[in-house]
Each structure stands twice: as C-alpha cells, then as structure tokens.
C-alpha cells in the first residue's frame, strides 16, 4: 500500500465539439488563410469531468458508479491513456490493460489464431509471451475447435470471449473493466469473475465501472460515485451504493410525480426508516399507510441473519369499502434481480371486503437468503393489476451472515460425511444475534 496505483488530482476533461457547418467554413478559411492549426478551435465545449480527485492503493478493487453520461467511461479512458485530461494530473503506476471494448482490434477476415497474436502485440506482449500464453488463452475462451476459422464466422459471444481471454492474459498491474462482464452467458461471466477474483488475490489493482451495483458492492473496497462529471460521493461501497440508490429512486419519483399529480399528495410513509425516498403510485382507494419489518419478537428491525423469521406488516386504510383487492410482496436484490414475488391472488385468496383501518402481515418463517441488501416492493392493487398503492423498492433490509456463501438463495441444508473422509467440524460460531433487547442474553 506504499505508493498508490492510480492518483488523480483535480482531473477535468472538456470535450470540444466542432459543428459540421462551421467545420466546413473552417476548412475553407483554413485553406484560404493557410492557418490550419490556429483555426482548429472548438465551437462548443462539453465538460465530461470536473475536478475529480482520488487515489487507488495498490491491490485495491475500485468501483466507479453513476448514471449514463456521468463521466464514468471518460474517466476510464483517461486512466487507460486513450485521451488526456484537459486539466489536472492523472498518474497510473504499472502496466494497464483495459477491458473497454473486447476484441476491438480483431480483423474479421483472418483466423482467431492470428488475431490472438496481433491483439496480444497491440496490448503490449512480445511474440514469445504470446506463444507461451496461447494455449491458456484459447482454453479460457473455450474456442479450441474454432481457433483457425476466420473471426467473422464467430458468434458475438465467441468474439467477446476471445477478446476477454486475450486482455486478461496480458497480466497487467492495473486492470480496467468497463461493463464488459455483461456480455457472454452465465457460465462465462462466472469464469471472468473467477479470473478477476484471482487477480485480486494476487494483489493486482482493479478498476471496475459498472451498472451492476450488486457486483460493485460485493467486489470493491472503495467506490466512487460520479454525478454529472463530479464526485458525488466516495468511500465505503455499501454507503456509496445506498446513497446512489436513494438518489436514483428520488429521480424516478420526480418523474412519477410529474406524470401523476395524485402521487404528489401522498402521505409520507417512510415508516421503515430506510433512506429511500418514496417511489409510489396508485389511486389510493386503498392506502398502504405504513410498512414495518418485524422480527420474531415483533420488533422493528432492518438487519437479519439467515434463518430468522421476517414479517412484513402492512398498515392499510380504505376510506370507502373496496371489494376487489390483492396484496402483494416482492423481494429484489440491490441490482434489481427478483428474488421472490407473490400475492394473495396468486395464492388464491378470494377478496371480500376491506374498509377503514386494517393490517396485513406477510410472514417469512425462515429467511433463506445469503448476505446482501434486499429491496421490497409492496402493493395493494385490483385483480387486473390496476394499482391502489404501489411502493417500489421503498423498503429495504439487509441480511448479514458469518458464512460468506454466494448466490441469492440459501436453501436449508447440512453436510454429511461417510467412509474414508474426515473433516474437523467448524469452529462453533453462532450466527449474530441482532435482537436489540438484551434481557434474555443477560
């Protein structure tokens, strides 16, 4: 951790735009006056980054998040050395490999084999190094049978795989990754993540630009949030990602407000205490006035350990009697993947009548989820889906676990060993006790 791998000091990037009409005039006047260089002046500028400063220590995994057009890719291009900052300094220590566009240098007409060697040379390898790594590259890309076919016959997935395989085998000190993990099938993505994990273990520095907040939160030691080219937040991944989610939810809500003035009058129901602003819509004939997350002792809590019971309690109000209604609950991961969703209609409850105040509880007996942040959708709507009150991702809870298992769902399970195998039982490490009162522990 002695010298940082990347140092950015007050980096700004201003793009210049040359309007087409003026460009022509420029050429003409340039030819007439013979002053080509001095006439290459921009008509309009666009500030992509402004005053961005940060440091990435060696061996760290650094995430950059932000909306489209917030300057993420510009930052990555600056770090890769493809463009230079307009102001400020940006220094990168060590060899960089940028996974910005996979297979950017491939020529469609020639074989995968030849493309691998040329791409390798482009990325700074020598002939010998390429020869030594060639088999690894081909095996990683799973393209052994096709390696002598022209690249134009490859599917886009094969193309990406070969590109990734070459770039990752350059063995850089600093690896820049721009959203490229979104390509390829599940299996290959997993393999890429494994390879990136191996990189981390070997103490290499990784810069990851991604929209996949779950991935960023899981992998990064440090996250930078860019908003309109400026640093909006920087620090602990969970805190920054949460702040970003809050901001994005706020933006969505503003959009909804603009389109649906009814929602503007909605009462403040941020009963979960979560930081998210409300993103809700509906006709409000039935109103979800409050949502509480309760543990097995009916106490409100937002952090759970796997296996605990979790109750989602909906406090409802219907000013007029309503006879067509459905209550639903959806659980999502932080990057928006649906974990589970159900409602009273799907489970064949037949609505009869709701009037005045009411309470609906959705009880999960044992939470079968791995560690992470989860978002809740809760809703009251008609059987045809017309919403009375829909809360989109307004409520959240976290699952914390001592066991760092992966995935989303943790099925109830145990291990048995028989025959000539022996394993020492794990250290007795009970799951955390997150109950707030200490009367029983005392």
């Amino acid at each position: 951790m002695a010298t940082p791998a990347v140092v950015a000091r007050d980096v700004s990037k201003i793009y210049r735009r040359f309007l087409h009409k003026n460009q022509f005039r420029t050429l003409k006047s340039a030819l007439l006056t013979g002053s080509l260089l001095s006439d290459l002046s921009p008509d309009e500028t666009f500030t992509a980054l402004e005053g961005v400063s940060f440091e990435v220590p060696k061996g760290a995994t650094f995430g950059v998040i932000g909306e489209n057009g917030s300057g993420k890719s510009t930052l990555l291009k600056l770090m890769a050395g493809i463009t230079k900052p307009t102001r400020g300094q940006l220094a990168v220590d060590g060899r960089i490999s940028a996974l910005i566009e996979l297979g950017a240098g491939f020529h469609p007409e020639i074989s995968g084999r030849e493309n691998v060697s040329i791409n390798g040379i482009m990325l700074g390898l020598t002939r010998k190094q390429i020869e030594a790594r060639f088999d690894d590259i081909v095996d990683f890309a799973e393209l052994r049978e096709f390696i002598d076919a022209p690249v134009k016959t490859y599917s886009s997935g094969m193309y990406m795989r070969l590109g990734f395989a070459v770039a990752i085998h350059v063995d850089p000190d600093v690896l820049l990754i721009d959203e490229v993990l979104a390509v390829g099938d599940e299996g290959f993505t997993r393999k890429c993540l494994d390879k990136i994990g191996e990189f981390r273990r070997r103490g290499r520095t990784i810069l990851l630009v991604s929209h996949s907040l779950g991935l960023v939160e899981k992998m990064c030691d440090d996250v930078l949030w860019l908003r309109h080219g400026r640093v909006a937040d920087h620090g602990d991944p969970k805190r920054v990602v949460d702040a970003y989610l809050t901001y994005v939810a706020g933006g969505e809500e503003a959009l909804l407000r603009a389109s649906d003035s009814d929602a503007a009058g909605a009462a403040d129901t941020s009963a979960t205490g979560a930081t998210y602003q409300e993103g809700r819509w509906g006709s409000h004939e039935i109103e979800i006035a409050a949502v509480r997350l309760l543990d097995d002792r009916a106490q409100e809590r937002h952090v759970y350990v796997p296996g605990e019971s979790l109750t989602v309690a909906l406090e409802l109000r219907a000013a007029q009697p309503v006879e067509d209604f459905v209550f639903g609950v959806g659980i999502f991961t932080a990057d928006g993947v649906s974990v589970y969703g159900t409602n009273t209609h799907l489970e064949e409850f037949v609505p009869q009548r709701i009037e005045g105040a009411a309470e609906v509880r959705f009880v999960i007996d044992a939470l079968a989820l791995v560690e992470g942040t989860y978002l809740l959708d809760v809703a009251a709507h008609k059987r045809d889906g017309t919403p009375y009150d829909y809360h989109r991702g307004l409520h959240s809870f976290r699952v914390k676990s001592r066991v760092k298992d992966v995935g989303v769902h943790r099925p109830a399970h145990h291990w048995t060993f028989a025959g000539g195998v022996s394993l020492a039982p794990p250290q007795p490490r009970p799951e955390l006790d997150l109950h707030e009162d200490d009367e029983r522990q005392g």
Binding site: L27, I96, I100
Partner: protein
C-alpha cells in the same frame, strides 16, 4: 521527426504483424489469392495499353518504345503512391475503434497502409523484371532502384501521416483527395516522356517530387542509364520536409484524434 521515427521503430513488431495481417486479409476468400498482386497491375497495364496503343496509337516518341514496358515502369510506383494515400485518408476513421477503445499508437495505422502497399509494389517487381528480361532491357542501373524507393517511402509516409490526421477533422479531404490524386497522376510523367517536355509544362512538373522519382525509376529500369541525380536529391529533400511536416502535424493533432474519430 526523429522522435516520430523512433516511435515507429519501437512499434515495429506491431507494424510488422499488422502489415502481414493486411496482406493476408486482403485476398482472403478470393480464388486467386496472392496472385492478385501480380494480376492487378497487369490488368491495369492492359487497359492503358489498349487505349494508348490501339485507340490512340502512334504518339509515342522513340525513346519510350516499347511503350507498354515504359508505362509499366511508372505504373507500379505510382500505384503504390496513389493507393497508399487514398487508403491513408480513411484509415484512422475506419480504425476508430482501436484509437477510441484501446491504447493504440494511432500513427501505426497510416504507416501500415503505406507499408502494405509497398509490399504490393514489391510483389509487382518480379513481373516487371520478367518483362524487362523478355525485352532484354535489364541492366545494372536497376540496382539503384532502392534509392528512389527509399525517397518515395519517406515522402509517402509523410503525406499519409498528414492526410490521415487531417481527414479526421475535415472529412471533405477524402472526397477531394480522389480528384487531387487523379490530377496528380496526369501531372506526373507516367503516361508520357518527361525528357521531351519543354516550356511551362516542364517547369510545373519539376516542382512535383513524384516527377523526379518516376523519372529515376524509368531511367533505372527502362533507359539503362541514370543521370537524374539532382532531381532525385531534390525529391529527397522535399520528402524529408514532408515527413517532418506530417510527423509534426500528427503529433499536434494526436490528442484530438481519439475524440474526433
């Protein structure tokens, strides 16, 4: 300029593999493959031959008979020059992906087009030499050919750098260039004999470095005696100047390339 040359030397492995890729890719999928490098100039020769010996015959001075052989001596180097520049004008734009997405030395691209076309030129030489032998005209002066070749390489590299970088900013150059090269072709003694020219035409053609290069090639291959030293030297000076200008301008525009492509 020296720095530019040093950079190019540093990237020689990359340039070398890109040139060979270019050559391999060009005729990949065609039945005759590499033979096109020989057939192309021959077909071109036949076309012009038909026009200038059958349709418009009898205007050639004695010094340039057999006319087709004379024409072929100039056609090969001219094709190298013309194709290099025509391709160089679009090479940064079509290679935009590389410049924008990968840390890639942009100057490599125009250099590769020039070198790939040089390779085609060199592949055409055996055909020319075979024809010269057939007519019994080959002499020791052909050994001097590397001199104008080197000068032409420097000139073409310089112009290719210049044109490729400027085209990124002014796309119009691509269209204009076609016509400029067409005009340049007729302002260069490929089809006719420079030695017989006089007056203002000669004065203008003297300003064209390609004139001196082609006269050199023609003398070395065709006329078996070389005395155009001064012209070749002047062309060499102009070429170095061109390279310096091209390298300088490319360096100045380098940072804008990734953004404008």
């Amino acid at each position: 300029m020296l720095a530019q040359a040093a950079t190019l030397f540093r990237y020689r492995l990359l340039i070398q593999s890109l040139v060979s890729r270019e050559l391999k890719a060009r005729y990949r999928g065609s039945i005759l493959g590499f033979f096109w490098s020989f057939i192309n100039p021959l077909l071109q020769l036949l076309t012009y031959g038909l026009v200038f010996t059958k349709i418009l015959p009898g205007v050639h001075p004695k010094q340039i008979e057999p006319y087709l052989l004379f024409f072929f001596c100039g056609l090969l180097p001219w094709t190298w020059f013309q194709a290099s520049l025509a391709e160089a004008s679009g090479v940064l734009i079509s290679g935009g992906n590389l410049i924008k997405k990968v840390l890639f030395p942009a100057e490599v691209l125009p250099v590769v087009t020039v070198l790939a076309n040089l390779a085609h030129f060199l592949l055409g030489l055996p055909v020319l030499i075979a024809l010269l032998l057939l007519y019994g005209r080959l002499s020791w002066t052909a050994l001097l050919v590397p001199l104008p070749l080197l000068v032409q390489l420097v000139l073409t590299l310089g112009l290719a750098l210049l044109i490729s970088a400027l085209t990124v900013h002014f796309r119009d150059i691509q269209s204009i260039l076609t016509h400029v090269l067409h005009l340049w072709f007729f302002a260069t003694p490929v089809l006719y004999f420079y030695g017989n020219l006089g007056g203002w035409v000669r004065t203008i053609l003297r300003l064209n470095p390609m004139t001196h290069l082609l006269v050199s090639y023609q003398q070395m291959f065709f006329h078996d005696s070389f005395d155009h030293w001064r012209g070749l030297l002047a062309a060499a000076m102009v070429s170095l100047l061109c390279f310096a200008l091209g390298a300088f301008l490319f360096e100045r525009l380098r940072d804008t390339l990734a953004e404008e492509v």
